[in-house]
């Protein structure tokens, strides 16, 4: 799988660079901001608290590799050159909005992306429009503006490599992530 091989490549590259010869010890992870990597079951409702309010023996894996795991149920896809949220994604957005509106301390990020075609800065702005469209949908459903930040990766972080319509369609997206 792409993530595994790229993860190994980064590990190998890093090991080459600084002579690390063994896997990172767990305590070294404390220098890095903790990012929740819980898997969200479809529908998303039950996962709100997972990874927060940890007990003493809780261990959370930190992954600073790009493309951290995002469950498929948190991704909205877009048509070419469009930032319109299609009807088929309304249930997904409603489910997340309901979850966040019910818990005002829950914060999140919406990351907008484009396919590889076109200029980097213009695509960064297009991705921003996609993220903001999803954010608007969620604030209309009761989520507070302060709970969400819309950001963009433009074309810099494709989910799928490739230069055909199948790959492009998988890259035109907005991802909902918990903070």
């Amino acid at each position: 799988m792409k993530r595994l091989s790229s993860a190994l490549a980064v590990l190998a590259l890093a090991a080459l660079a600084v002579g690390c010869s063994s896997p990172v010890k767990l305590e070294e992870n404390t220098d890095v901001p903790v990012e929740s990597r819980t898997r969200t079951p479809a529908g998303g409702a039950g996962a709100a608290g997972a990874g927060q309010g940890a007990g003493q023996s809780q261990v959370t894996t930190v992954n600073v590799d790009k493309g951290a795991t995002t469950s498929a149920a948190r991704i909205v896809y877009f048509d070419f050159d469009s930032f319109v949220v299609k009807d088929e994604f309304r249930p997904l957005i409603e489910a997340h909005a309901k979850r966040m509106a019910a818990n005002k301390s829950q914060r999140g990020t919406i990351e907008g992306h484009t396919d590889e075609r076109g200029g980097r800065e213009y695509n960064l702005a297009l991705g921003q429009k996609r993220a903001e469209a999803v954010l608007r949908s969620m604030t209309l459903l009761g989520v507070s503006d302060a709970q969400l930040e819309a950001v963009s990766f433009g074309k810099e972080r494709p989910a799928v490599q490739g230069s055909d319509e199948a790959a492009w369609a998988k890259n035109r997206r907005a991802e909902l992530k918990d903070k």
């Binding site: 590259l13 890093a14 261990v59 076109g118 800065e121 213009y122 297009l126 921003q128 819309a150 972080r157």
Partner: protein, 430 residues
């Protein structure tokens, strides 16, 4: 329940975001020239006497030969004669060999450990000595010394200022590592300004060449940083809500214009170089981005899709009414203005999804394509206005190219194994 850690998800979190460091050049650049201009001046450049004693970076003669050849305006003749700046070459002999000019010199060690590089240039056609110079450089500046001599020879023979002693910055990507690199204009002597596992885009040199602004995604969003090149010290000048990108310096170095989404959408803002005095410049409900100043500092060119698709516009530097500049095609982006303010380089999307480098004469709006490639991006002018550097794709890899303004002479800076993008040409060395 969180996943148990597995070897594949552990990371060696080290050497990320290292500040300025000097690494050995492991991505060698080679040059290919395609297309020939009207005339190339034949020049004979001898190996500099004793250059081998100054170490591997001191192939002075070879560096000068490569610089002049890369400009496309010179043709190097083979020279095996042992000459230096004190020689008395027979002009008739060199005329017979077809040379218009002859360069010779030497390298010797000074008492303080520096190197004394001397040279002399002859006009073979007129049969006279054009004079010479001596430069004293530390070992680390031997390449720079050779480039300065190439600039002096170029200027003496063409009348134009040379850019061989300038630097370029660009981003490379290998596996999942991004680096922001600074090299000589010939791609050699590379040093790393920033290394990251997250993307780096839109580098921009400050007008004095001391700082680089850039966008880094290390915080999982676009944030604009300004970094002092020599010390590696850096500061985040824009980390507002949402995305912060496309930094552009005013010609006096005092202001930055940025694309910010803090008010919703993407709009242009200006701020002092220390991040103070934020002011919104555009007031459209469209995407306004990719600002760049005209060299007189009075006009900003930028990209806006307020008319439907992205086109280039210009407005007064303090904001105000925008005037559309590009009309051919429905997708025009990435403007760069020449140092004399007369020419705009930009990328235009043609039918079939090809993105091609174009140049427009701003006085009459006349447009010409400069390449026949289909994946061009990110044009940037050399400070003498004679060359444009840009990124393109060849054989499935990102490459850096330079082109003359008429598109006739192109060189390719090859990098083995790395994808290279986002080149920006630095200013004249002070």
């Amino acid at each position: 329940m969180p996943l148990p850690p597995t070897p594949a998800t552990r990371r060696c979190v080290c050497a990320s975001l290292a500040a300025f460091s000097t690494l050995p050049v492991w991505a060698q650049f080679r040059v290919e020239i395609s297309g020939v201009g009207a005339t190339q001046l034949p020049v004979a450049i001898a190996r500099f006497r004793d250059e081998d004693k100054a170490g591997p970076n001191a192939a002075i003669g070879a560096i000068i030969r490569a610089d002049l050849e890369r400009s496309g305006q010179f043709r190097n003749l083979d020279v095996s004669a042992a000459l230096d700046e004190t020689s008395q070459p027979a002009m008739s002999e060199w005329r017979g060999r077809g040379a218009d000019a002859l360069l010779a010199g030497s390298v010797s060690r000074l008492a303080d450990g520096r190197w004394d590089i001397r040279y002399k240039l002859w006009d073979v056609v007129k049969g006279r000595d054009l004079g010479g110079q001596s430069l004293a450089v530390v070992t680390a500046d031997l390449r720079l010394g050779a480039h300065r001599i190439a600039d002096a020879v170029y200027e003496r023979l063409t009348g134009d200022k040379g850019v061989f002693a300038t630097r370029i910055a660009y981003v490379t990507r290998a596996a999942n590592r991004f680096t922001l690199r600074i090299t000589d204009a010939d791609g050699e002597g590379g040093q790393v300004a920033l290394t990251s596992v997250e993307p780096i885009i839109s580098p921009a040199w400050s007008p004095d060449g001391r700082e680089l602004a850039y966008v880094s995604f290390e915080q999982q969003k676009a944030v604009v940083w300004v970094q002092d090149v020599a010390s590696g010290q850096r500061r985040a000048v824009a980390n507002f809500r949402g995305s912060n990108s496309a930094p552009a310096w005013s010609p006096d170095g005092r202001q930055l214009v940025l694309s910010l989404s803090r008010d919703g959408g993407t709009q242009l803002f200006s701020m002092g170089r220390d991040g103070s005095g934020l002011k919104r410049l555009t007031q459209s409900s469209a995407i306004d981005t990719e600002a760049t100043f005209a060299p007189d500092g009075r006009t900003i060119y930028f990209v806006s899709d307020r008319g439907g698709g992205p086109q280039v516009y210009r407005m007064p530097a303090a904001g105000g009414n925008a005037e559309r500049v590009t009309f051919a095609g429905n997708y025009n982006i990435s403007p760069a203005i020449s140092p004399d303010g007369r020419t705009m380089a930009y990328i235009s999307r043609l039918g079939g999804g090809n993105f091609r480098l174009h140049a427009m004469e701003l006085a009459d709006g006349n447009v010409r394509a400069l390449t026949d490639t289909s994946d061009d991006e990110s044009p940037s002018f050399a400070p003498n206005g004679k060359l444009i550097i840009y990124a393109s794709r060849a054989q499935g890899r990102d490459v850096l190219m330079t082109s003359t303004l008429d598109g006739r002479i192109k060189t390719r800076l090859l990098s083995s194994g790395l994808d290279v993008r986002e080149p920006v040409w630095g200013p004249f060395n002070l």
